[in-house]
Symmetry: C2
Subunit: 712 residues, 2 copies
């Protein structure tokens, strides 16, 4: 059995099991987890020890003594319609009372706002008052208009603690979270960190369960509507009067509640960021780096390494914002369901990249279904996630992997343990291949264009299941295992001209979202540059509602490149081009189909329909100058999707569909490393495949989910 | 056999057939048609004679001598992208050369515009020039921007003549059309009308094939894209430099090409009309009435009646604009596929309402399929259209009916003749019932709310098949045969308050269209009044994307009344309310289903989901004050739809679902007249039904498509 580069969660009380599994799986590290601890026997067993700390929780005593250092959030009350000239709104109505408490301190009240949502204007302060006794806002209303109250609330239950209590039936103390923006809190944290290092001599790696601010997760009071808002990339949980005041001093303009709550829509990462949001991210990001670096420094001075877990309270820690190295972390740990998450981790500028496999050793998975509890199939789940992730590992190096949770739960699930035997063997095989050198890439260099650009390299926001309705996450997931050079560019990056090292640009989203680009397409330079670039040979692939924006002569601003438009209702009286479908041989793997989209219309007689679904064009191609525009109605990651995307990128950029280095079986992918070729079978059935390389044919007979490495 | 109130098309050369069918079908009128003439034998046969005239065509000689009096249109060229600093556009490129010719007279060139479509701005006149020799516009361009040329074109082939030539293989002379806005042309027309009346002594009724300006119908040069734009209600074909100049003098501001071509989207009736369009309609409408009244006057002075056919060149003749009586017409003739068209005709303020049955006695129907030609089934078609129309005739009186086309074609289609035997018998039975008095209506008074209001009573624009994608036409068609009082109101009508005689308001459309209301929902008064009205007991039914408009805290501005919203992408991170479907007994007839709509979401725990489709709410209900908001995802007219709509209106307004006067079988409808009850079977199979009235039960056994009248 192979060994090394594997982090096993140990568990006090299960020392024998811990040692057994450490040996079985070749662990070199044993960790504690949120909810477990390591006994002296484990700590002294000779393994390197990772210790989990979450800087902002486990300080309930201190927080109780310093309630002003609790974390906060702007909330927007449910809008209510006035029936007369006075309207009473209970702002907390509908919010989870165990998560939030109104902050009605004078310092906070400065930031409260009452909005007339019918007209879209804030009320003057004399037109409403807050009654602290009843916790109600009394509004001088215009009859039949709708109003809502935007207010500051304390967050009184740390969200991950809350989630685990409720989902995994924890019954230990409910944790609060302190806000290190408060100087006293930060000083406390630093001294706590110092003490902690001193009292954990066996710890080799301090594993920060991320940092200070959780992603936005706003819960509701009604069990039928518990999740009000959840965005892995929102900064809603970073606010406090002190930070807002400092921001105003530094940036020269104030932020108000409405800048965060946006009519109750909040500022999800799927929407286009405006200047205010970007400024706030910049402001908070600098604070987070400064404060976190002071903790990392303490860890380093104690002779330990500092790794960070890139989930939960990660806000302010974008690995691709150009400042990640300022933290001084030695490693980045990312839990992974999917290939794109592995690429996200692998590309971050840090020494050690470690992935955390799903499922966690918890009774219930993140999706809410049983895993290590009756009805769960954790072995099957683990293998499915692994197969998702494995493709990406072929393309980019990940140094380490590991598990998290309650090790004792594995006792009842030998199917999981067997799956881990296979997974670890394959992980180490792939890891080693990267030591021989870079895997071979195919020619076309792909850029994904959206409003966030490189900041959101290999991600939208959160796990796959959180962003599933977005076409782009499906494309990223398929792309994560393809042998292409992939970059992520923003509209700012193409404002002057399209960078010279791009052959294919993909824009995939829904009208108005950050992924399609919305308002950014109103800038003539963007269209001009893209038009010039395609004309000179570039390939533009648009999926869903790419470049969609109202107000233009077409709804898709790149319609002239694609030869199709989306009818937003303006074309109800316009005729359609009749067409014959012209399938391109080999483009579609079996079992892959595009979705039907009702309002797609050809706007050009030169547009070729390569596939139709539901009697409407689903895939089109149009020559434009030396280049090409390709439109597809949508994209879902699944069987055949990655091969289709590979084919489409080759087709759009004018290459042949079956280049060397690509397997002849869509279920099987391969990667060519210096001296080696590796085949992976993504299917749960045995598969045969072959691949040409340097005019030689390599063949493989693969078991279900199998991996075969051959010498070249 | 019954007789009277029927207009038969005669045909010279088929005198025996004409007389035979006149007797068989009890005709009291014989007409000529576009393409046929009546011989002296027919003219002298003792029947009243309708003679068809189309005022603007059949004047080719005069038009050739007065080419400046031809009709015109603004066209917008295909946008083209500049590759350098000069771009050449051939404006006529893509347009049907047999329909249009460039008007490059100095008078017309004043109105030409060249637009930078990338930036959305018109070019200065020094930045482009037209070369009449090459018929090209040369543009000083910015590289990679798109430009289009908006220009005036002569229309050189009258569109109905063009259509019949091409569709029905006519080979007679191609007709042009004169523009009576030219004073010389109008004077010519008046003298022609005078002469015409003198030379047609046998004619009792001059049947105007509508008036001067055809609905917009812009054809393309490519057979794959022949129909570029077609809107039954657009004013595009009414323009001329003279009219535009007069407009500016009268209204104090000029119109330009862009006001008509709108980036090449043109001004379809499905879009919200702006002030400029409404002003232009007002301006042209007054001219059309003035000019047409002068012709009607000539007809009247010749001792004849003047009827008008409400299709084709009808622009400027809205029957519901409050000025229709100024024409002085004695009758209005409407060809009908559908119930809503019969209601449209029946409600117009004119003495005689006459419907023209489909199919016309032409080889090919309006939809392009064979009718009176091999493969056609005109008898089946006639019965299907009749069953559509018959429901509406139960609710509103139509005095006359008739046919049009080539009578000789009926010889090969006895199935059609037999169908007409039945249709005419049933028509006369229903017509007689109205002589006993008004049919009984159920309580709730329904108003359809859209941007056009009463101007577009019982219509969107054109026939059903032309507007089929719009939810509202399906609702109108179902509504046309229901026993409700129905009115059509605009946002102006509810700007002060909701009129007191309304119980149910229906708003049904797609975001941004005239039927949903688009920008009109930005006005707080509209929301306030609707909110107040529902709170005090009104029922608001929204279908599709009712009240949808961006920029608000909800995408549906009436979301607070409906309890649902449509997610435009802003709610990607918001949770959904869990719900249990609560079917309301009896609401859905068998075989009727609502469409699934992906982005519908509950925004209120008090919203009841009455039906779901595809795992999403499809029909919801929410109490609001004393009233109710009901949302449905869409609506298609078809089996069961009318009964569902009847049920829904009763449910929304708080009534029981099975009132007296409604049949117990959804396939069978009935109407109660003073002293009589009539049942109609809308199904092609025999049906039984019964109906309670005054606590008595009336029963009927109906043949396929049968009608049974019983005494009360």
């Amino acid at each position: 059995m192979s060994s090394g580069n594997f982090t096993l969660p140990g568990e006090a009380g299960y020392e024998k099991l811990t040692m057994e599994l450490a040996r079985r799986w070749g662990a070199d590290v044993i960790r504690d987890s949120d909810g477990t601890r390591l006994s002296d026997e484990i700590l002294n067993s000779g393994y390197t020890i990772y210790s989990t700390v979450c800087p902002v929780r486990e300080h309930n005593e201190w927080i109780k003594a310093h309630p002003f250092a609790r974390q906060q959030v702007f909330l927007s009350s449910r809008p209510a319609a006035a029936t007369g000239d006075e309207l009473v709104i209970q702002p907390m109505d509908g919010f989870f009372k165990e998560q939030f408490e109104i902050n009605d301190t004078p310092d906070a009240m400065r930031f409260w706002q009452v909005y007339d949502r019918t007209e879209g204007l804030p009320l003057l302060s004399e037109d409403w008052r807050y009654n602290p006794k009843t916790a109600c806002v009394v509004i001088r209303s215009k009859p039949w208009r709708q109003y809502s109250v935007s207010f500051l609330a304390w967050r009184v239950w740390e969200e991950i603690s809350m989630y685990n209590h409720i989902t995994n039936n924890w019954d230990k103390e409910r944790l609060m979270q302190l806000n290190p923006y408060d100087p006293e809190a930060l000083a406390y944290l630093q001294s706590w960190m110092q003490l902690w290092c001193g009292s954990h001599p066996r710890t080799g790696v301090v594993r920060f369960t991320s940092l200070f601010y959780n992603f936005a997760w706003i819960w509701g009071s009604d069990a039928r509507n518990r999740n009000l808002f959840s965005d892995w990339a929102s900064y809603d949980f970073t606010v406090s009067p002190a930070a807002l005041d400092d921001f105003e001093r530094e940036y020269g303009y104030p932020l108000c509640a409405e800048d965060f709550v946006r009519q109750g829509k909040y500022c999800a990462a799927h929407r286009l960021p405006g200047k205010k949001k970007l400024d706030w991210m910049d402001f908070i990001g600098r604070f987070v780096r400064r404060a976190a670096a002071s903790l990392v420094d303490i860890v380093h001075r104690a002779g330990k390494l500092a790794y960070v877990f890139y989930d939960d309270s990660w806000i302010g820690m974008e690995p691709y914002n150009g400042h990640f190295e300022e933290f001084g972390f030695d490693g980045l740990i990312k839990c992974v369901f999917s290939g794109f998450e592995a690429r996200l981790c692998a590309g971050a500028p840090v020494k050690t990249h470690e992935i955390r496999f799903h499922p966690y050793l918890f009774p219930v998975g993140l999706g809410g279904l049983p895993t290590f509890s009756p009805g769960g199939k954790p072995g099957r789940d683990a293998m499915i996630y692994w197969v998702n992730v494995r493709r990406a590992l072929l393309r980019a190096k990940i140094e380490r992997c590991g598990l998290g949770g309650y090790l004792n739960l594995t006792r009842e699930f030998e199917d999981f343990n067997k799956a881990m035997d296979i997974i670890l063997e394959q992980f180490r095989t792939i890891r080693e291949l990267h030591d021989f050198g870079q895997p071979v890439k195919l020619g076309p260099r792909v850029a994904v264009l959206h409003a966030w650009g490189s900041l959101r390299t290999w991600t939208l926001s959160g796990h796959f299941h959180e962003t599933e309705r977005h076409i782009l996450i499906h494309i990223l997931e398929s792309l994560s295992g393809l042998p292409f050079d992939v970059s992520f560019i923003s509209f700012d990056d193409i404002d002057k001209s399209i960078p010279g090292d791009i052959d294919v640009i993909i824009n995939a989203g829904m009208a108005g979202d950050a992924w399609s680009g919305g308002e950014r397409w109103r800038e003539p330079r963007i269209i001009e540059n893209l038009t010039a670039w395609v004309h000179s040979g570039g390939a533009f692939i648009g999926a869903g509602e790419p470049s969609a924006l109202d107000g233009g002569h077409t709804f898709l601003r790149a319609a002239h490149l694609l030869g199709v438009d989306i009818d937003d209702g303006e074309r109800a009286c316009h005729g359609n081009w009749a067409y014959e479908t012209e399938p391109f041989p080999g483009l579609f793997p079996d079992c892959f189909e595009l979705p039907s989209k009702e309002n797609v219309c050809l706007i050009d007689g030169g547009t070729h329909v390569l596939a139709e679904v539901g009697g409407r064009p689903a895939l089109t191609s149009k020559a434009f100058g030396e280049g090409r525009g390709v439109y597809l109605t949508g994209f879902r990651h699944g069987p055949g999707s990655a091969r289709f995307l590979l084919n489409l990128i080759l087709f759009a950029s004018g290459r042949g569909l079956a280049p060397e280095g690509v397997s002849n079986n869509p279920d099987v992918e391969c990667a060519v490393f210096p001296g080696h070729i590796v085949f992976i079978n993504n299917s749960g059935e045995p598969r045969q495949a072959s691949c040409r390389w340097n005019n030689r044919e390599y063949a493989a007979e693969l078991a279900a989910y199998g991996l075969i490495k051959e010498d070249l």
